[in-house]
Amino acid sequence: MKLGAFRLLFLAGLFAVGAGLAVVPAGAHHGWEWAVDEQTELEGTIQEISMAPPHPTLRVSDSQGQVWQVDLGNPRNTAASGFTAETAKAGDAVLVLGNRHKDESKKHMKAVRITIGGTKYDMYPERIRAK
């Protein structure tokens, strides 16, 4: 099939956009590719709880006063873990087990389990490598 100049130009444009996108680094939230494989613990104090979809999150300050974003499961995982908006409040101590962001400058972690007041809330039970 013989392609006209316009059609070639359009295909070139499409290719340029695609190639441009391919070099932009993809990041966080969905999936686990953005987080390290190893699971670590974060001990801190809850500053803020957001139950808003698509991902409930906690803001947690650690002992050095650094504030972390902790992604919980999706709304259904989170509800299944037993954690609700009423479970905890700002100021409560929390222990987070999860996978942190590959970029260590980002204080960002995806939780598989959070522990508050001795109760465990398992977001991703199948992923937990128990400590």
Binding site: G4, F6, R7, L9, F10, G13, L14, V17, L21, A26, G27, A28, H29, H30, W34, S50, M51, A52, P53, P54, P75, R76, A79
Partner: protein, 156 residues
């Protein structure tokens, strides 16, 4: 950021924050809107550029334009609604800002294209002018880019 607080406080946003099912239905309606928009505008843009020549423009354009505008309306309404669930989060998300910018340019492109006499002539079956073909190509690239930027929001 008082405006964003005000936006976040409307009852529709509260409802989506408290009902996972409502959220996913509005989310699905947004995807439907995007699907109708891109699914209809892409073949029309391609036809204007010069692909798919076995289908006469005057035969396919009326249906594709109606479907695309219905999809656009649905996507805009549901998109704004979803934005209000966490406006501060989205306003700070580079992929979201890029998506909004792409949509603004794409809407401006629509208004330029639809006002042009050669475009109206093309809808009646005349051969699309070079300007019409360039703007049609731009339209396809802009909407596809907005789609990708939208999907990117969750991966920033």
């Amino acid at each position: 950021m008082q405006l964003l607080d005000l936006i976040a406080a409307w009852p529709g946003a509260n409802w989506l924050r408290h009902s996972g099912t409502a959220y996913l239905l509005v989310n699905a309606a947004h995807i439907l809107g995007v699907g109708l928009l891109v699914g209809a505008i892409l073949p029309l843009d391609l036809r204007m550029i010069g692909f798919l020549r076995s289908h006469p423009i005057e035969a396919v354009a009326p249906l594709l334009l109606s479907v695309a505008s219905a999809g656009l309306a649905l996507a805009l309404v549901t998109g704004l609604w979803l934005f209000t669930v966490q406006p501060k989060l989205y306003a700070a998300n580079p992929a979201f800002l890029m998506k909004v910018a792409l949509i603004v340019v794409a809407l401006a492109n629509i208004s330029v294209q639809h006002r042009s006499a050669p475009f109206q002539a093309a809808l009646r079956g005349e051969r699309p002018s070079d300007a019409v073909r360039v703007l049609a190509g731009l339209s396809a690239l802009l909407w596809l880019s907005a789609l990708v930027a939208g999907r990117w929001i969750g991966f920033v």
